[in-house]
Symmetry: C2
Subunit: 437 residues, 2 copies
């Protein structure tokens, strides 16, 4: 039996899983409080559907049955999904008759990519997605709501300060076109390399590869240098002097998102006109989230607005969504925090001897009936060993049914207690998230 | 984009997912109240590890990267896990240094098998497992605890009455050996066919294939016919007259489990000496759970005690566990129940016009801050359309910020309300599980 871990397939210890579960519960509760309905989709999709997004095709894990007896030739070839967006598109079409639009859904599931593992990039990873999918038209309010919900989800967690950068495809495209740049997509792709090759490298590439003038390259770089946590960014853009109807529309939209952010999540949402990734796919607002001081980790929550998630020939389904990279966040989170204990148990009920085990069980049942996680000692060892059993697991309380007393084994404090009314202090009831040292 | 569902890969509508989430939350809470720590393992294991269980090898889904550039020759071949027990064994060895034994864990995850889909059998399915794994020795109490925890988990759900059948390998083996039956495994395998081929078929096969005498076949069948919800089963076994030390030990163990069941879960746990499945693998108590009146669905929660989950050469890790077949239960559950609404939302806050949207948002934030799932209307349509938006989703309440009133759109009852104190009736706060008609 192999004991080696597989690179790219992270697994947490029980204490680590307490932290992850805390994160997932908080994210789920935030999504549900905002009216997002939870769904799960199957882990596999027909390979042909996954390959429509050409560039990711080489990252796909294809499935085959080990002892395929020839009957699978009639079956479609299946592969593991690499995100939760392609499955959502298929789910929407498959279940459209049973859904109400706007369809607000969240989905917390694993996805798989065969790419080379590196810091923050895994072959198996958990995503927590929210999307709003509409029929034919998408009210702009949902583009405003999206980063506020995600900010609220991240805000309640013991994470480094984060910043959700916002841009809008219409701003970049409208600006480039007004500046006379012909190859909008190419310019976006090049601007996306800013962090990697720097402004000088980008300028050179814009001129030599994309074919802009050096004035156009400077203008594109000037636009990308604009960033602000309030609506002042719009004046900075207008000051650059390349104006168009599309640009104005984009600026108005971006202003609404940033204004809402300033009002409800001050300091969290920032207009960042350097964001260019995904702008070939997204058609309006785009989002990218980084931990301040941990930018090298990459984006931990991204997304945007798409004009057509999918179409059935008769209607299109525009949408907007964001995806939180749970595994990437966890890889950072676990360097900072852990669980106050690796087990849910708050109380271990000691057993005096096997003849009176039923008395210990009765205490445990009474505590559990009131929602207190409780175990009965598996053996009637001497009390010192039973206390050590609790101590090794960081279970804070040991109950002695003989004398009807409960001991806080950290302080040694022991008091008489009634299993029908006693309860642990609130902070000991369930495992807590604590600093990792 | 394919719209067809894939046979064997079940997916629920949002309302169905509410039901499944309710089930999973209840099961998880029950496990945690009993002190089981949650873990997740990666979805894949090296193929060679999965193949150690020879008989399931043909059901395995093997992975390959679509554009494998030759670098995977150095990598181990991976396959999707087909249960949560093999991964647990590997996890225990891999993380043994970080675990405390007895290690009580629960694990709620998907698993995959390439077998032909049929009623209650899927290619992708969710299991909810609890196991206790020890080093070297396993206190018997855990064999008693296991079915009580599972019974409690199932008891709180809107399910048909269920019955957890209990047997013990030592009873069957001790009895067969005392009766002079040489081929214990073969006899168990044949007894396992009782439901399929009946007592006469079993008797014939025992004599002709397994090589028992017809008296031995009758004795094995007599043992298998014993079943009781109390400790009386032991007298019935002893009355058959084939006694051995192993049988006595088994009877004592089985009596302890059944007595605990009678006391704490009356009518749920039943000694059923016909249970023979898995007795080649399990070495003590075994469990199988059926819905009364739905026996054709098969077992919905099974497991048993194993002497050695795994060994690292120096020590062995005995354990006992049960696995709840969540997808199988869901396939039955959804014919009976659904959700009172397919969205979490209890309140839709109407929007008078876009200029006052911030007032609607303020109401929504005040309600959410007190844990009430609330959406703001995405558009400032006339109120009739906004009410229809809520009605189509079965959102029970619509809030009108202009007049500061909230309307129960089912009764039409409308009252003045303060977002800082109003709350929905308890039964409308979150979606409920309701009869499916």
């Amino acid at each position: 039996m192999a004991r080696q871990s597989l690179s790219g397939f992270p697994e947490w210890t029980p204490a680590g899983r307490v932290v992850e579960q805390h994160l997932l519960d908080h994210v789920r509760r935030t999504f549900e409080l905002h009216g997002f309905a939870g769904i799960e989709t199957r882990a596999v999709e027909p390979l042909e559907d996954l390959l429509r997004k050409g560039e990711t095709s080489k990252e796909v894990y294809v499935l085959r049955r080990l002892h395929d007896e020839g009957d699978s030739a009639r079956e479609r070839q299946l592969a593991l999904h690499f995100d939760l967006t392609v499955p959502l598109a298929r789910y929407v079409l498959e279940h459209a008759g049973a859904l109400q639009f706007p369809f607000k859904r969240y989905q917390i599931q694993k996805a798989w990519r065969g790419e080379r593992p590196q810091d923050g990039r895994f072959r198996e990873f958990t995503q927590a997605d929210i999307d709003v999918v509409c029929q034919d038209t998408l009210p702009f309010e949902f583009e405003v709501e999206m980063p506020l919900v995600v900010a609220e989800a991240l805000d309640g967690l013991p994470l480094p300060p984060f910043r959700i950068g916002i841009n809008n495809r219409k701003v970049s495209q409208g600006f480039y076109e007004a500046a006379g740049i012909a190859d909008v997509e190419g310019t976006l792709r090049t601007i996306d390399k800013l962090a990697k090759i720097g402004p000088a490298g980008v300028a050179t590439e814009l001129v030599e590869v994309i074919g802009t003038t050096s004035g156009q390259a400077d203008a594109a770089l000037a636009l990308a240098s604009i960033s602000a946590a309030d609506e002042s960014f719009a004046d900075s853009v207008l000051a650059l002097g390349h104006r168009s109807a599309l640009l104005d529309e984009g600026l108005e939209e971006l202003t609404r998102v940033v204004a809402a952010g300033r009002q409800h999540m001050p300091g969290r949402l920032v207009a960042d006109l350097s964001i260019a990734r995904g702008l070939d796919y997204y058609t309006g607002t785009v989002y990218e989230t980084t931990f301040v001081g941990h930018e090298g980790l990459g984006s931990v929550a991204s997304g945007g607005r798409y004009d057509s998630l999918v179409s059935d020939g008769r209607r299109t389904y525009p949408g907007v969504g964001m995806s939180i990279g749970v595994s990437r966040i966890m890889s950072r989170l676990l360097t900072e925090v852990t669980a106050s204990r690796p087990v849910p148990t708050a109380v271990l009920v000691a057993v005096v001897d096997e003849a009176t085990r039923h008395e210990s069980d009765a205490v445990a049942r009474a505590l559990r009936a009131r929602g207190i996680p409780t175990e009965t000692s598996p053996t009637a060892d001497r009390f010192g060993r039973q206390i050590r059993y609790a101590d090794r697991r960081s279970i804070p309380f040991v109950w002695f049914p003989g004398t009807g007393e409960v001991k806080d084994i950290r302080s040694g404090n022991q008091v008489a207690a009634d299993p029908a009314v006693w309860e642990p202090p609130k902070e000991d009831w369930w495992p807590r998230i604590v600093a990792n040292h």
